[in-house]
Amino acid sequence: MSNLFLILIATILVNNFVFSYFLGICPFLGVSNKASSAIGMGFAATFVMTMTAFVTWLINHYILIPYNLKFLETVSFILVIASLVQFVEMFLKKMVPALYKALGIFLPLITTNCIVLGLALLGSMRNYNLLENVIFGFGAGMGFTLALVIMAGIREELEYADVPEPLKGGGITLIIAGLLALAFMGFSGIISGG
C-alpha cells in the first residue's frame, strides 16, 4: 500500500512529467491561458493516461512479452493512445460539450502528445504490476494537471503585470516554466527511488 502511495507522490511531485521529464510541453504552454480550460485539459489527459496505463500493461504482459514481440511496443501503444483519445473526444462531445469546445484542437492533439506515449514506455520499462502501473499513469496525469493549473494561475495574474515589451507572450511564459521546473527540483530529496 505504501508502495502505491510512494509511486503516486513520486510521479506528481518529484518526477513530475512536465517539470522533470519535460514531456507534454505543448499543451502546457498552449492551454494554460485560463484556469478553467487548464483543469479540463488536465483531467482529460489524466483520464487518457490512466486508461493508457491500464490497457498498455495488459497488451504488454499478455501479448507482447509472451509472444516475444517487444519490438511492437511503440506501434501498439500509439494505436492504443489514438483509439482512447478518439473515445474521450466522443464522450466529451456528448456529455460535456462546454469542455469539448474549450479544449478545441488540444484534445485531438493529446494523441500525438509525447507525455502519453512517454508514460506507456516508461511504465513498461519499470516492471510495475497492473495496479502500480495504473497508479503510475494516474499520478502522471495528476502531475500534468497540477503543472497546468499552476501555470494557468500564474498566467492569469500575469495579465496585470507590467511585462517588458520583448518578453510579452511566449518569452515570459518560457521563463516562468523554467522557474517552476527549478522550484519543483526542490522536491527531489523527499523520496529516494520513485
Partner: protein, 289 residues
Amino acid sequence: MNVILLALLTMGGIGLAFAVVLLLAYKKLAVEEDPRIKRIEEVLPGANCGACGYPGCAAYAEAIVNENAPIDKCGPGGAEVARRIAEILGIEGVEVGVRKVAHVMCQGTNEAALNRSIYYGISTCRAAHFTVGGDKECYWGCLGLGDCVRACPFDAIHMTDKGIPIVDRQKCTGCGLCVEACPRNIIELVPITQKVFVLCKNEDKGANARKYCDYACIGCRICVRKAPEGSMEIRNNLAVILDHKPVDENAQAVTEKCPTKSIVQLVDDEGNYHLPPALEGAEIVPIKS
C-alpha cells in the same frame, strides 16, 4: 517468417478490437445536432468577422436555431443571407434592414478647420480629447489621430492626407467598433442607401462656428425650410434629419442652398457614393503613431 505473421496478426487483432470499441462508442455517443444549424452555417459568409456579435459564423448559426437570435445580424451577408436563413427556418415576411455602413460626420479637414495650437501629446484621439481637446478650435470636430482606423478589424476605414478618415463602403461591415472608438461620436452607422448627410457636429452659434470651420453647420435653417414639413429641424444650432425618407426624396432641393456645404447629397440616384466636398481628391495615408 513466423514472427512476421505473429506480429501482423497481433497488430491486426489489436486494431480490430479497438475499431469495434470505437464503432460501438460512435453509435452510442452520437450527438444529434439540428440539421438546420449546418445549413445556416453554409449560407453564412464564413468570414467569422464577429459583426453579428457572436464569436463566429458557426456560433451565430447555432444561436439562430437554439436561442432565436435575430436573422439579420450578418453585416457582410446582408439582406440576401438573411432571406436565405429565413427560407431555411421557414419564416416568411421578415422585415430585413438594409446594410449599414459607418460614416464620418465631419468635414473639418486641415485646410478647412482652424487650428488653435499644435498637439504634442499621446497620439490617440481619446488622449487628445480628454486632456487638452486636440489642436482644433472646433470642440466637436474630428481629431484626426486615427482611433477609428486602429479599431477597425476589416481595414475598412483609412486616414487621409486631409486629416479626416474615410470609410471603404465595400469593406465596411457595420460592426460599429469605430463608432465606439471615436471619443467625439462623429462616426455614425447609416443605411448604405441614405442620400443626404449632415456632415457637422458643431453645436456652437453660427457666427462662431463659421469662424473656425469652412464646412460648419451654422444653423441658418435653409435646409429645414426646403425639406418637407417636420422631416428636419435645428437642434442646438445644428441641422438634424428627423425622417430620412422625405429628405432623401427631396435631396437636391434640401442640399443645394446650404451656404457652408455642411448638408450634402453623397449618394446619387443611381446609388453611387461620392466623397464629401471637403475630401475630394483626398489620398489615403498611414496614421501617425
